[in-house]
């Protein structure tokens, strides 16, 4: 029997009934009165000088209120680096970049007018990859990089296309590689792609008569938006209100600042009237940011029996045209560069390189899914070279308590049990029954493994808050700054508070929408940290409220407050439960029969701030940037057709050490959803560019995501090694399930074909080409 009543239970989602009845409202469902509509003119060129923009005809079109271009608001914004004009200024740097916006009475008038805008471009040389961008004679995407403001943790290299360079220097990597008995070296790559959250980004902005700016936005980070708007537009931060209803999928794509800056300019141009801007799907994929691309070079050195001694890692990220979150993705990938392996000597240079691709922002897995692909492929290559089973070599090198991370910080007593995860994943995928099985003449079954680790990439002073207020019936209202993005964190928070109150989560009312005017400050609903950090804050708020309840109740009950406990909607003497009061008699002050009242309402407050975190040293990477590490192992089984190289992913398994499972169904749902996205990355998702770096598959007809019936059978397990500082011992789990999957699939397909497949997405035709090339090379 569990010691808990609410933790570990699959309590139904608090937002469920609305969602299955079509009553959940998202930003685009709002239609305030007096609403104007905006539409964007986007660039058809990837890199070009803007010679002229002729807006005359558009301005004269029916229903048009205003047309704005970059020249009207020559500002550059940015999350970490101020490199990004909301509308292109003088030049465009990626296909799909917004160059002008029309504000009109109706959306169709706005869209109609957009077509009347004439833009003349003069093409510039394009940068098509990090390699391209790092060439000595490469054109500079941002000539004025040295003028951009940026946070200290980012290290741009003006005069080049490097927006950030993170260095990890642990031990003596070059020497250790030279001494190693086994060395493997290879290159790996994947193109940029998109989140494809089903809800596209949308914003409704308005300036009130008193100058207050009110923005409804599809955001994961309402407070970040508020603070950046204040910083960039010089608006007192208290005069900005962000209202963020639940969003239709985020996956990182709605973190940071998205359409809000442009939204502010639109309402400004429309005299403060409310203006709605909704991305259409193509704009959401091309004009707004997506998933980062990568070129990686990995060199691993090991002893003859497969113990890793050194890694030299060059991660070159394809940031696209603007830095946005990419500079921190490349940073996070450096911090965790080795994957969950104990490697004493590490050199990593992680470069975030500007290219003429749609730019990148946060994406589920944040740097870790990216680094895991080259690392997990490399581990299989190492296993092959050492003649050791891929699972065994992972077991041998798996990180554990007492080892150090690439940033030389100690893996402490809170380190999860990765070996147990590997063991369970291997069992679930029946690894011992063979990882390569010839089914018949034309079909092979193969399995692949991939480990994962993930720590939240966030500023060291990241915090969260929670407030508990009470209704007259004694039920609770829980206010946090956490966004409901589909992950069910609010349900988890309700369970945590319910556990403390000894009540059912039904008695915890959740404020679903976040309003920055009233919600406690929260950094961002990202980095899989919500339940851990807001959970801690909520627990503290619950304890604070319980203290107040006991204090109030102790007076009429004539007992010391510390003898009282709260449970089942009552406060009572722990050793004599019949003596007590219902909560509704206490939470708004106790009232005596004669009308005298004491103490007043209970307001529980709690907060949490990450403890003992630091930035990293710019030269060595030394530091303690990681709140916690979730560790895990994943594996897949695929079936490949040797004629046309089509394949199916039959089974995907995952075991992660999450400290404590608060809600088993929701936890499973997060992992399964993340796995399916990992499959998407491995199987089909990637932008395809033509020679002018225009995206040729920027519509859902051509950009293929996983559909019903293409998903594998999932088997999910959890290990629970408590995280000492996590509420009830929990760690983050929302993103992690994606991380090991691309590597696992590429490993399985490499095994199935006998050919090194070091890229994703793995389309049947590409596999066929690789097999052809390999056999051609063999025969020379």
């Amino acid at each position: 029997m569990s010691e808990f009543k609410q933790i570990g239970r699959s309590f139904s989602r608090t937002d469920g009934l609305d969602k299955v009845h079509g009553k959940q409202e998202y930003v685009n469902d709002y239609q305030p009165t007096g609403l104007l509509h905006a539409a964007l003119k986007i660039s058809t060129h990837a890199h070009a000088k803007i010679k002229s923009i002729d807006t005359a005809e558009a301005e004269a079109a029916s229903g048009v209120q205003a047309v704005i271009t970059g020249d009207d608001f020559p500002v550059t914004l940015g999350l970490y680096m101020g490199d990004h004009p909301p509308l292109a200024l003088h030049k465009v740097r990626h296909y799909g970049e917004p160059v002008a916006a029309v504000i009109a009475n109706t959306e169709h008038q706005a869209k109609n007018a957009v077509e009347l805008i004439k833009v003349k471009y003069e093409d510039l040389e394009v940068i098509s990859s990090p390699t391209d961008g790092l060439k000595a004679n490469a054109p500079l995407l941002h000539e004025n990089m040295d003028e951009y403001t940026h946070i200290d943790a980012v290290h741009p290299e003006p005069g080049s296309n490097v927006a950030n360079h993170t260095k990890i220097r642990k031990g003596e990597a070059a020497q250790a590689i030279a001494d190693a008995e086994i060395v493997i070296e290879d290159t790996f790559s994947f193109p940029p792609c998109d989140h494809v959250a089903m809800e596209t980004r949308a914003v409704i902005s308005e300036i009130k008569a008193n100058g207050n700016v009110v923005i409804h936005s599809t955001t994961q980070a309402p407070f970040t938006v508020k603070e950046l708007l204040s910083f960039n537009f010089d608006i007192p931060v208290g005069k900005i209100k962000i209202i963020a209803p639940p969003i239709g999928g985020g996956f990182g794509g709605k973190a940071g600042i998205q359409l809000e800056g442009l939204g502010y300019l639109l309402t400004k141009a429309a005299d403060g009237r409310p203006v709605k801007l909704v991305n259409d799907r193509e704009e959401d994929m091309l004009s707004s940011p997506g998933h980062i691309g990568m070129e990686a070079k990995v060199r691993l050195g090991a002893t003859a029996d497969g113990k890793l001694i050194a890694a030299e890692l060059d991660y070159h990220f394809d940031a696209g045209a603007y830095a946005d979150y990419a500079v921190n993705v490349s940073n996070a990938a450096a911090i965790s560069c080795t994957g969950p392996y104990d490697i004493p000597n590490v050199r990593c240079d992680s470069l975030c390189v500007y290219t003429n691709h749609p730019f990148a922002t946060a994406f589920r897995g944040f740097g870790h899914v990216e680094l895991a692909f080259p690392i997990e492929r490399s581990m299989d290559l190492l296993a092959e070279k050492a003649g050791i089973d891929p699972v065994e070599i992972r077991m041998k090198n798996a990180i554990k308590e007492g080892d150090t991370s690439p940033t030389q910080s100690l893996m402490d007593a809170n380190t999860g049990d990765l070996r147990e995860c590997i063991k369970r994943a291997a069992k679930m995928i029946n690894w011992d029954q063979g990882s390569f099985i010839k089914k018949d003449e034309n079909k092979v079954i193969a399995k692949g493994f991939g480990l994962l680790w993930k720590s939240p990439a966030m500023p060291p002073n990241t915090g969260a808050g929670a407030i508990i207020t009470f209704n007259k019936d004694g039920s609770l209202n829980l206010h946090t700054g956490i966004m409901e993005i589909g992950q069910g964190s609010k349900t988890g928070l309700a369970q945590i508070v319910a556990e403390r109150f000894g009540t059912s989560p039904e008695n915890i009312h959740l404020v679903q929408e976040v309003n920055t005017e009233t919600a406690p400050h929260d950094w961002s609903t990202a980095a899989s940290r919500s339940l851990m950090m807001a959970g801690r804050a909520a627990l503290e708020a619950a304890d604070d409220a319980i203290d107040q309840i006991c204090r109030t109740a102790a007076i009429p009950l004539r007992c010391p407050p510390e003898d009282l406990i709260v449970e089942g909607g009552r406060v009572f003497l722990e050793d004599e439960p019949s003596i007590g009061l219902p909560l509704d008699d206490v939470v708004h002050g106790y009232v005596y029969e004669n009308g005298n009242a004491i103490e007043g309402q209970v307001i529980g407050r709690g907060n949490y701030i990450a403890r003992r975190l630091s930035g990293i040293d710019p030269e060595t990477g030394k530091g303690r940037p990681s709140l916690e590490y979730t560790l895990g192992a994943q594996a897949v089984e695929i079936e490949l057709d040797l004629n046309d190289y089509s394949y199916q992913i039959k089974k995907a398994v995952s075991c992660m050490d999450v400290g404590k499972v608060i809600n088993p169904n929701l936890a499973r749902g997060q992992v399964v959803g993340a796995i399916s996205m990992g499959i998407g990355l491995a199987r089909s998702e990637g932008f395809v560019f033509n020679s002018r770096e225009q995206v040729v598959n920027g519509v859902l007809r051509d950009y293929k995501v996983l559909r019903y019936g293409e998903e594998p059978e999932y088997e999910i397990d959890f290990v629970e090694t408590p995280q000492g500082d996590g509420p009830f011992g929990l760690r983050g789990l929302g993103e992690q399930g994606i991380i090991g999957i691309p590597g696992a699939i590429a490993n399985a397909l490499s095994r199935a074909t006998g050919v090194k497949l070091n890229y994703i997405p793995l389309l049947p035709e590409d596999i066929w080409q690789s097999v052809k090339e390999a056999s051609h090379n063999d025969s020379i």
Partner: protein
């Protein structure tokens, strides 16, 4: 969201539709026949294709006919692909319809729209090319019934102002052995890399029609002669068949010509195997 405006008409019969088209033309208006709308509405969304008027054919009885008449099956042009699949008069036809787009879209997407559309795939025409189907057109000159060979060459040979009313298929073909192969890049819900439909006729000769491998669907007697030549090895057949293609194999973002060529060889072998060849 369609940004521009157009007029929408719903004629009740063939004559009204034809006259309306002529009238609009005389008034200088660009009009277009409208059926399922899956192509027209999605293309109109980005404002690239503009029309002044849509003439919806879905109230015209003849366009909705679905049944047997004498020794023919009649398929109205405005039948949705799902309706054709569900009645399943002619299994090879159903087989060709079923993988197009997705199930929900097929509740809208019409046979006529697919055949007369501007996209290169037009998969639904494949079986009709194999079975001596007759196409009924209506236009300013009245109605005409045209054999498949004359009705289609690279595209439906509709005159200005004409539309497809229905297609008639001799019943005897429904009895014959058939096979259908559709290959995709990765996801099944996608335009195909190639789609072949084949049927073994009464003389034991295999007929094959090709879609998506080139820029338009086609069927060629020369190709069938090679395919049915029992003296040739399969690889030789494929080689010679490709040489007879009216235009080079498509090379685009969905697949290279080389990969399509590989799939073609495998698909032809599969058809040969399934339909017993000369065995």
């Amino acid at each position: 969201m369609i940004p521009f405006n157009f007029k929408y008409y719903r004629p009740a019969n063939i004559e009204e539709a034809v006259e309306l088209y002529q009238q609009l033309k005389a008034d200088g208006e660009k009009s277009i026949y409208y059926a399922g709308g899956t192509e027209i509405v999605t293309n109109a969304r980005d404002g690239q294709k503009k029309y002044d008027a849509l003439i919806d054919l879905k109230d015209i009885n003849e366009c909705l006919e679905h049944g047997e008449k004498n020794d023919e099956y009649v398929f109205g042009a405005c039948l949705t692909l799902n309706e054709i699949v569900e009645k399943d008069y002619f299994p090879l036809f159903s087989l060709a319809c079923r993988p197009v787009a997705d199930h929900t879209t097929r509740n809208q997407l019409t046979m006529g729209g697919n055949i007369c559309g501007k996209l290169p795939y037009r998969e639904v025409i494949l079986p009709l090319m194999l079975v001596e189907a007759n196409f009924v057109f209506a236009g300013p000159e009245g109605m005409r019934t045209v054999a498949a060979a004359e009705a289609y060459d690279k595209r439906m040979l509709l005159n200005e102002g004409e539309f497809l009313v229905q297609v008639k298929v001799p019943k005897k073909f429904a009895e014959l052995d058939y096979h259908d192969v559709r290959k995709v890049k990765q996801s099944e819900v996608d335009y195909p890399l190639l789609h072949l439909a084949a049927l073994k006729d009464e003389a034991d000769q295999i007929r094959i029609a090709f879609s998506s491998i080139c820029a338009f669907p086609f069927r060629l007697e020369d190709i069938e002669a090679i395919f049915n030549d029992s003296q040739l090895e399969m690889e030789e057949k494929v080689e010679q068949i490709v040489a007879k293609f009216p235009i080079p194999i498509k090379d685009d973002k969905r697949g290279s010509a080389d990969y399509r060529r590989l799939l073609l060889g495998q698909s032809l072998a599969e058809i040969w195997h399934k339909l017993g060849g000369d065995a």
